[in-house]
Symmetry: C2
Subunit: 241 residues, 2 copies
């Protein structure tokens, strides 16, 4: 909830805070009061009634999802084509945030990114970057290309070797404007039209594992881009400034 209070700004409607939590986090109370008139004290009983693992702060925020694709200049977006598991979706959003992505796009067929399990697994990252919803993959593919992004599928059978791409030995430039797409946990991209992908990238696997979990694969791919971007000086300094 701390992340909601810090990042939702005007989208914060109400904040409920227990006496204990208010004493422990005076900074949070100050931030909440700056953002909304509606900061309410609550008892521990109320906190527990709101959620069994409420840690003394609860907030009502306006829906953080954005319907449809905006006309903005983004150069690093993450597309979930059909992610079904809320833990995976939350972890992909968290990795996208940490790698410096501009936005996450949850195509129709992806789990609801505002569901409690996704929000929790994202560790607050759903409040840090835009979540675009209610769009089909083909529409997203057209949009990404019209904006000059290379559309890249992370796919175990992909012909581009991620390590080679990181070493500049493939035609894919990981530091250039990029839209990374991740598929369904079980059937990958089997149920979507993949003809729009510019590149299909596989992570080289040693050992005997046939694949990585989709959120682990996303972390590896997104940090390959993050590393390449930092090398080229295109690096979100929000964290380090």
């Amino acid at each position: 909830m701390r992340e909601a209070v810090r990042f939702c700004g005007r989208d914060l409607v109400d904040v409920y805070i227990s006496e204990d939590a208010a004493a422990r986090h005076p900074d949070l109370v100050k931030q909440a009061k700056k953002a909304t008139h509606w900061v309410h004290p609550m008892t521990d009983e109320v906190a527990r009634a709101i959620s069994p693992d409420c840690q003394g702060v609860a907030a009502v925020v306006k829906d953080f999802r954005t319907d449809g694709l905006p006309k903005v200049d983004w150069d690093f977006v993450v597309i979930m084509t059909q992610t079904q598991d809320p833990g995976n979706a939350g972890n992909i959003i968290r990795a996208a945030d940490a790698a410096g992505a501009d936005a996450v796009i949850a195509c129709s067929g992806t789990v609801d990114v505002s569901s409690p399990k996704v929000v929790r697994a994202s560790a607050g990252s759903v409040f840090h970057l835009p979540s675009i919803t209610n769009v089909g993959f083909e529409e997203v593919a057209e949009w990404a290309k019209a904006r000059g992004m290379t559309l890249v599928a992370a796919d175990g059978g992909g012909s581009v070797d991620l390590f080679d791409a990181e070493d500049g030995m493939e035609s894919l430039d990981l530091a250039a404007p990029i839209a990374w797409a991740f598929g369904n946990e079980a059937h990958g991209f089997d149920q979507i039209d993949t003809s729009g992908f510019d590149h299909s990238v596989s992570i080289p696997l040693a050992g005997h594992a046939e694949s990585l979990n989709v959120s682990a694969a996303a972390a590896v791919c997104l940090f390959a881009t993050a590393r390449s971007r930092r090398r080229m000086g295109a690096w979100d300094k929000a964290k380090t400034d």
Copy 2:
């Protein structure tokens, strides 16, 4: 279960297989019969009674965990010091396997790696590489160093920048014999003696996320080592040969 049948060999005790599954996977039946005399037909009702999401094959295997540290020449091991969430533990084991690690060490205080949730999250990787259990972290640290491995903590506050290490700009050589340690989900390495670490490595984060999920962080770190090892020619070819 396919992975248990393929990789457990003599440790396979019984295999139960439904008529449907036997018809769909004749190769699996053949492999099972080679490994054990005890391949039993079962009905779909029995399969469902064994586990609600049993897909027609069930196996009894000897305990795959190894107690205590063996005297072997390994040069890439993964240490879970206190991983608590079974999904994270399974995903770390899966990433370790995929990155070509020789073994996973689950220190005392880590979730039981033979629990169903860990086995499932590992997608069979628990059967691919040794899981060392029943050892304390300090013992593991001594053992790793005595075997010439560099002991490295993955830690958000670490002073070694992972990207710089990958680019050869740090004193840490990711391709040299290495033991990667990952901490607890909530308190990292707060509850263990960290004086034994040779390096403490952080993944550079852009955006606003304060950290990555521990299994995502493990994937990023282990594949940094995998990439460096492949560059140096130290790469497990099990997969590609």
